[in-house]
Amino acid sequence: MSAGAAWAGLPAADGHVAIRGGAIRLGRGAAAFDVVENIGLDIPARQFVCILGPSGCGKSTLLGAVAGHLALSRGSVSLDGQAVTGPHPDRGIVFQQHTLFPWLSVLDNVAFGSKMSGVGRAERRERARALLAQVGLSDFVEAYPAELSGGMQQRVEIARALINQPRVLLMDEPFGALDAQTRLTMQELLLDIWTRHRTTILFVTHDIDEALFLADRLIVMTPRPGRILDDIPLAFGRPRDRGLITDPRFTAIKQRCLALLQGAPGGVPLARLSPIGMP
């Protein structure tokens, strides 16, 4: 355990994300279209930000640009003053559908990031074990991903992203494919993990309750081409529990979000885009 204990699992630097005049165009030639435009966003270190918007508004695409999987057509993204030019383990990402490697055990999936940074086998497995304990999967270290339920797979995803001690954790509707009950459990688990790994979190969702329950701050986007419609601070105390959902301040902000999303022009829901480009 000494190896695992020595490795604190805390990010090395701050995690301040800045997007300036960001725009993203996807597609080629005549079929090209603007997904998001004129995005200006400053996220201080260790803030939990949810991005809320209708399906196809480009919030996942924006997340892909911060991850470095997509290039901005205009503007810039930076992390702690350094321009984002491609994917980096400092910016961990969790997708909606799990991206665990089917051929690796749960333990080796989580240890993958440490393997890439050259950590020895015993040491990285020790770290992975510690993280899997935090997400409640100590009994499944030797299982293959296909043997886990959807909720468990997302727990492994989170642990796998955290092993690199990312400064930012990017989450693209990570609980969107789970049933309602599992989703609530996963939200509480995420907040619990966040108390230990105090990274900046950028969390994309179209579930208002989820966004309000999790975040310090809510960014509401317009339909495509996505722009920032509103920026709402959520001053609910922490730790949070389920009772928050019936809090009058919670319902008041929920009303406001519903009005914002309904008032937005463009009725037809658009196809979901992904953080790695066209679906």
Binding site: H88, R91, I93, T99, F101, W103, L104, F112, E147, N164
Partner: protein, 293 residues
Amino acid sequence: MSGPMSGSISASAIETAPPIRGARGPAIRARSPRTLPLGRLARRGLALALSLAAWHLAASHRLDLGLVTFRNVPTPAAAAQAAWALLHAPLLPTHLGASLVRVLSGFLAALGTGIALGLAIGRSRLARDLLLPPLEVLRPIPAVAWIPLAILMFPSSEVSMAFITFTGALFPILLNTVHGVESVHPRLVAAARSLGAGDTAILREVILPGAAPSIVTGAAIGMGTAWFCLVTAEMISGQYGIGYFTWESYTLQNYDDIVVGMLLIGLLGMGSSLVVRWLGERATPWIGAGAQR
């Protein structure tokens, strides 16, 4: 032919027993083919026995249908006797060894080349543009058509025969590798990049294991075609080997041995494909995991 017949009779006697499906222990990695119920097993045994009986009748009565004649075809009993004799022949290990060395060297060369080219074609547009057109031209050329040129190109006849098996095994392995590489979801590659994987690591840690199930399939098919091609090559330019043995039996009018050679080729081809599949399952233990959930 008492062996298979008595076997099928005893099996059909048990056919009325309650079905054994589900009586097996919990199967965790259910990749190996399901065991058939005894009734169907008996039916399959019976089919084999009937085929043998038909062969025996046609050969022993020297059946002549005009278009096809069984006048020079040995009976199953004669073939069995010849097989028994061959088992004790001093030359058998030499024949087997010669064939195995040729098949294995051709197959292994095809495995290495096929995987390397397949990874390149599946991952790089430049490699695809440069390599695929010539390969597509070469692909439809059957191994037999290569024989004259192979003899001219390779001074050693051993190498030319190994080359023929190589051409047979290469394309199934190559095409399945390309298919396997293309089946790796871009999301997995993106996830690996975000976890710090560079180009080499992506290839080694993501693309190769992701394509592995397809490569195993290609290798098993390739092993089969390697035998197919080896025998043709040996018939023409061999000195030892099972294909050579079969062809020599014809020229020496040992007609019983022709059938023995054919059966031996079939058994060896089937056996080596099974070995490849078995090794492949060992190499891809995650396949079938979770299927029982």
